[in-house]
Every structure is written in C-alpha cells, then in structure tokens.
C-alpha cells in the first residue's frame, strides 16, 4: 500500500518536473512545477512527516508559486510573443550531438536505476529509525509529542547551530536579491579621489 502510493506520487513528481523543463509556455511551466511540489508533499506524508508536508504546501504552493504566477501574468508574456523555446543561444546541435547526449543520459539513467533496483531489498536503517521516531515516540516517550513539536524540539536543540547559520544564509540571499535588483544612481560617479 505504502509502496503503491509512493510509486504514484514519485512518478507524478518526476513527470511534472520534466514538464517544467519541456513546456514552452511559462504558465504551463509554473503549473507543472506546482504539481511536482504537491506530489513531493504527498511523499512527505508517506514518510509520516505531516508537518513538513503542510509546510511544503503552504510555503511552496501557497507562497512561492503564487508569486511566480503573479509575476508571469503581470509581465503578460503572451503579448510580447514570449516563447521559452525561442530563446536559444548559438546554433542548434546536430542530430549526432543530440544522439550522443541521449545515449549518455540513458546510460547514466540505466546505471542509477540498476544500482537502485539492486538495493530494493535493503532493510533501510534510516526508514526504521524514522518509523520509530515518528510513530513510536508519541507513545514511547510518554510526553505525547506530535510531529510538529518533535521538529521544533530538534530544530532548537540538536540542530540549533546549523539553524542559526541558515539565518545568515537567508540574509545573504536577501542582500543578493536587493543588490541585484536595485538600480544604482549613487554608484555611477567614481569615488572622490583615489586611495
């Protein structure tokens, strides 16, 4: 049962991700990305991580994707005749080159897939631990901690240092967005005098 649900949503996630790359209309791309993100949220549910699943839906589907769609629709790409496929730089690769790429991609995919299949019967220690952590602790711990509390506990104790560092990471991302998007006037003239 679990495997069936996993297989369905994993396939959906991968197909939708492929759709993001293949589609030429940016709105289709965005919607395909949304499908992919929602499928991943379903995968989180299969792993008993309901909090992460909800966060995935709220942040990505609710926040990020809505912004994406807003921007795409505000810019009104249709009228400008925008076509993602038309933005190619350089000459079109020859059939031989494309064949070579396809062979390389297929060979690598086959390698990854074969190694994956060989490990299908693996008793996954990670999965066992996740199961005991996510199902067991509520009962075994006696404190009746839910998934959300559990994540909060871990985030603010064991993983506090990387969590704090992540805030520096986000700060840099904000600075980057502002610096790259801002139009400078102040910077146009060179600094007075030289060092």
């Amino acid at each position: 049962m679990e495997f069936v649900v996993f297989a369905i949503f994993a396939a959906l996630a991968v197909l939708a991700a492929a759709g993001v790359v293949v589609a030429r209309n940016p709105v289709y791309c965005a919607v395909a990305l949304l499908v992919s993100l929602l499928s991943v949220a379903a995968l989180f549910l299969v792993l008993w991580a309901e909090f992460i699943a909800v966060v995935q839906i709220m942040v990505y589907a609710g926040g990020v994707m809505v912004l994406f769609l807003f921007v795409i629709m505000l810019v009104d790409l249709e009228q400008r005749g925008f076509d993602l496929g038309a933005g190619r730089i350089g000459p079109r690769p020859s059939a031989f080159e494309r064949g070579l790429w396809a062979v390389a991609a297929l060979a690598f995919g086959a390698l990854v897939l074969s190694l994956m299949v060989r490990s299908l019967d693996l008793p996954l220690p990670g999965a066992d631990r996740a199961a005991t952590m996510l199902q067991g602790p509520y009962a075994a711990d006696g404190r009746g901690l839910g998934n959300t509390e559990w994540i909060g506990m871990l985030l603010y104790t064991d993983w506090l240092v990387p969590f704090e560092l992540a805030s520096v990471l986000l700060l840099v991302a904000i600075i980057g967005a502002v610096v790259l998007a801002r139009r400078d006037q102040a910077d146009a003239p060179a600094g007075k005098g030289a060092a």
Binding site: R118, L122, L124, L160, V161, L180, K192
Partner: protein, 525 residues
C-alpha cells in the same frame, strides 16, 4: 533527549571566531547605507580586514589556550580539541588542528582579497558597502564548512559560502562578463549542490545517519550487500559534487569563465578560500565518513582519474591562454589535480593497497600534504592575483599577458615579487609551492598503485613552467606596453607584501608550518 544549556554555552565558546566574524558582517551591513563616498568605503574595507584579522587572532588564541590541556573530546573523535556535541551524541562540528589551520588559511585569503581590492572596487565602480559584509559572510560559511562533520552542517555551511560567492562574482552588474560568470557559476554550483545532496540522502538511506562518525561506524559494522550498491551510488554522486566545487576536470567548465568575469579580488578569494573550504569538505567526507576499505577502494580510483585529468587538461589549456586571469584559472585547475594526489594516497592506504609499515604514514601524509598545499597555494595565488589587480587602471583592463610587458623596468620590486609567485606556482625550490608539491609527491610515492600520478605531475610541472615563465619573459625582456602608472595603493602593497612573505617564508623556513600541518592529521583512527 535533554537540552543542557550550560554545555550549549560552552560549545559556543569554541565558535567565538565565527561568532565575532558574523558580528563584523552585521556591523558592515548596518553601516553600509551611511557610506556614500570613496573615503567611507575605504574605511569600511579596512574595518573588514581588521575584523578578519581579529578573528584570526582569536582563532590562534583559542588554539594556543587549549592545546595539550584538553584530552580527547569524545571517544569518537580522538584527535579533536573539541567536538560540539549535538545530534544523537555525535559531533556536528569539530574543532581540531585540521579545522584551525584551514580556517586560518580562509581568513588569510579573506584578508588578502579585501586589502587587494580596495582600489579595484573604485575603478570598477562597484564599491557598494554591502560588498564587504557579503565577503565576511562567505568567510563565515567557509569556516563552518571546514569544521563540519555532519551532512546537515556541511550543506548549510557550503551553501552559505557558495551563495555569498555567487553574489560576489556577479557584483559588477553592468559588466556582461561578470553577469555571465555569475550565471554560469550559480547554475552549475546549484546543480553540484543538488548532486551532493542526492549523494548525502542515499548515504542516509543506506546507513540511517547523516553524521560522518555515524557513517564510519555503520560502515565498520558492515553493510548488507544491497546497501553497498546504494553507497556506491552515494559515493559517485558525492565525488561529482565535490569535483564541481573544487573545480576538477571534467567538472571544471565553469571555472575559466567565472574566474575571468569575476572582479579580480573575488577571483582571488575563489581560488584560495573557496577551494580550501571545498577541499576540507572532501577530506572530511571521504577520509572520515567513507574510510572503510570497500568504500575507499571505490572513491580512490575515481579521484585518481580526476587528479590525472585535472593536472593534464589544466596545464595544457593554460598554455594556450592570452588572458592572465584565464591562465591562472586553468593553472588553479591543474593545482587541484596536484592536491588531489594527497587524497588519493590516503585513499589507497585506507583501501588496504599499501602494506602496513607505510600505511599509516601514507594516510597521515596524504591528509596533511593536502592541508600544506592549501596553505602554500593560498599565499601564492593571492599574491599573483594581487599583482594582476595592480595592472587594472582607468581605461585599461590589465588582464592580458601583454600587459605585463616591461614591468621589470617600470617596477622592479613588483616584477621580482611576481617572479617569486610564478616560481612558487611552478614549484621551484625555495618557494612555498615547492614544499607543498614535495609532500604531495612523497605521499603518493608511498605506494598503492598511484606512483604513476607522481610521474604525471612531474611531467605536468615541466609543461607549466612554460606558461609561467612566459609571463616572466614579458616582464623582463620586453618594452613597457603603456605609460599609465600602475594602480599602487598602500593596501595593495600590503597584500602583495604579505603574500610574498608567506610564499618565501614557507619556502625558506618551512619548519613552523610543517609542525602546524603535521598536527592536523590526528583526526584519523
């Protein structure tokens, strides 16, 4: 699971250099809106350099205060001065000799880049105040990455560093070259980060832990047959991810464009600090996490191939370059190939291909020779890039090899120093590059079937002499290309002098550095 506040505060004590540096970054960021003129920007740059210098002092004070005082921090990490105990009783961050020396390298690289770039930022009109804050945050990320012994901390540290550097590469918004460099670096860097993360998740699936010490234990306890295939895949992905981050062939295609397009001080930072931190990550992951013989056998030959390809392709293509920054980019790819020899030597020993009398020596030598090479290369490369900055003047890009023409006549001192850097890059005795290469050769010559790498490296060194000396010939045997005075500033002179002193000191009197570096190899069992 109990949270012990006292132990948490005690743990923070060992992160004082990083915490201080984060504060410096915040202060620079807070001050940046009020900085409008050139003088203010110069003050901010000097303050940033001073802040990093203080962090360097703190780092060594911490080290001097504890060496020999603290015993083994945990039974799992015997060589560590201190291991931060968090998740499941296993260290997330390790403060050991390895971390301290490499953090010092990153800080020195950061200081040199900051000092050499003060005038350049004005000439390129990109001296916005936030620049130095972002550079400092990149250093913070690199320092965390170097200490990390858990996939979670590794990834957060790596991304903090990488994101800052993507931004710095594209800082010259009006330059198409800079835009192109940033876009290529960002896309391939994000892709490499994804591959690395995929490898990490597979390793977690096979062993149930994200911790490198946990991984080590799980592998020592033995994995079922099917788990080994998953681990093989994990190793494959992580070798590719690390290969991108250290810019090894065939994962190097972004390097020349990114190095050429980035503002030169950022190029210097990438070639020294970022490369050092990425190497630290690779050493931690493979020498600590995947140290079991079966796994070492897998990644050793992969890195062996990367080493051979990197040094050969890097050197051969560098010969063809007319642009100094591109030439130094290919040369840095070649140096990655040399440095990988140390990792390969240690891996061959871990895989059991070297019999016992030499085995432990090869592991130790392999690891410490990479550290030594990072120290040597940081001073040398930063010095070379600083001299390139000297040639950037109003209206003259100054990054062609022809721009070096006649430098000996116009600035004999600078030309002499540049010659030292070039000789050190080529690995000529009496320079830091020679000492570093000597140890790498020694490590790979311990045996284990990789002696041919030393032969290849020697051949490549001969090739590299050609293009390094080509610059020297321009400097000493040709007439000046232009009459515009070089962009000499006190800060740039200081950076060049520091780099030259480091290069020559390690080359002529290597004992102190060798002692420091040989203390970094206690990490391994």
């Amino acid at each position: 699971m109990t949270f012990d506040t006292a132990s948490y505060v005690r743990d923070l004590y060992w992160l004082i250099p990083e915490l201080w540096l984060t504060l410096v970054g915040f202060a620079l960021l807070a001050a940046s809106p009020y900085i409008r003129d050139g003088a203010g920007r110069r003050i901010a740059a000097w303050a940033s350099a001073a802040g990093q210098a203080v962090a360097l002092v703190l780092l060594f004070a911490l080290y001097a205060g504890v060496s020999g005082v603290f015993g083994p921090a945990t039974p799992e990490a015997p060589g560590a001065i201190y291991a931060m105990q968090f998740a499941h009783g296993r260290p997330l961050l390790l403060i050991d000799g390895f971390a301290i020396v490499l953090k010092a390298v990153v800080l020195v690289a950061g200081i040199l880049a900051t000092l050499m770039g003060i005038r350049l930022l004005e000439t390129e009109r990109i001296g916005r105040g936030e620049f130095h804050a972002v550079l400092v945050f990149a250093v913070v990320g690199a320092m965390f990455l170097i200490s990390s012994t858990d996939f979670i901390t590794i990834f957060v540290g790596l991304e903090t560093m990488s994101l800052s550097v993507y931004l710095l590469v594209g800082w010259a918004k009006d330059s198409r070259k800079s835009n192109e460099a940033a876009l290529k670096y960002f896309l391939l860097g994000a892709f490499a980060g994804g591959l690395l993360l995929y490898g990490m998740s597979l390793a977690y699936g096979a062993t149930g832990t994200t911790n490198l010490f946990g991984l080590q234990q799980a592998l020592a306890a033995g994995t079922p047959e099917s788990g080994r295939w998953l681990l093989t895949l994990a190793i494959l992905f992580m070798v590719v991810g690390c290969g991108f981050k250290i810019a090894a062939v065939p994962f190097h295609v972004w390097t020349p464009d990114a190095y050429e397009g980035a503002p030169t001080l950022v190029t210097s930072f990438m070639a020294t600090a970022v490369k050092t931190a990425a190497f630290a990550m690779a050493l931690r992951i493979f020498l600590l996490g995947f140290d079991a013989p079966a796994q070492a056998a897998q990644w050793t030959w992969l890195f062996g191939i990367l080493a051979a390809l990197s040094m050969t392709v890097g050197n051969v293509i560098a010969v063809l370059q007319d642009n100094v920054k591109r030439m130094l980019a290919y040369s840095s790819i070649a140096h990655v190939g040399y440095a990988l020899m140390g990792l390969v030597a240690a891996g061959a020993a871990l895989a059991g291909w070297i019999p016992e009398p030499q085995r432990s020596l090869a592991i130790e030598l392999g690891q410490s020779s990479v550290v030594l090479y990072m120290v040597a290369y940081a001073f040398t490369a930063a010095g070379a890039f600083a001299v390139v900055i000297l040639l950037r003047r109003e209206g003259i890009e100054g990054d062609r090899i022809d721009d070096f023409s006649g430098m000996a006549r116009r600035a004999p001192g600078t030309a002499a120093v540049m010659l030292v850097f070039l000789l050190s890059l080529a690995g000529i005795p009496a320079t830091a590059g020679f000492i570093g290469k000597w140890w790498l050769f020694a490590s790979v010559l311990q045996g284990g079937g990789y002696r041919w790498l030393a032969v290849l490296a020697a051949l490549n060194t001969a090739v590299s002499l050609y293009y390094y000396l080509r610059v020297a010939v321009r400097m000493y045997m040709e007439i000046p290309a232009d009459e515009l005075p070089y962009a000499v500033t006190p800060s740039l002179t200081a950076a060049v002098a520091l780099a030259a002193i480091g290069t020559l000191a390690i080359g002529l009197w290597p004992e102190p550095v060798l002692r420091l570096v040989s203390g970094t190899a206690q990490l391994l069992p």
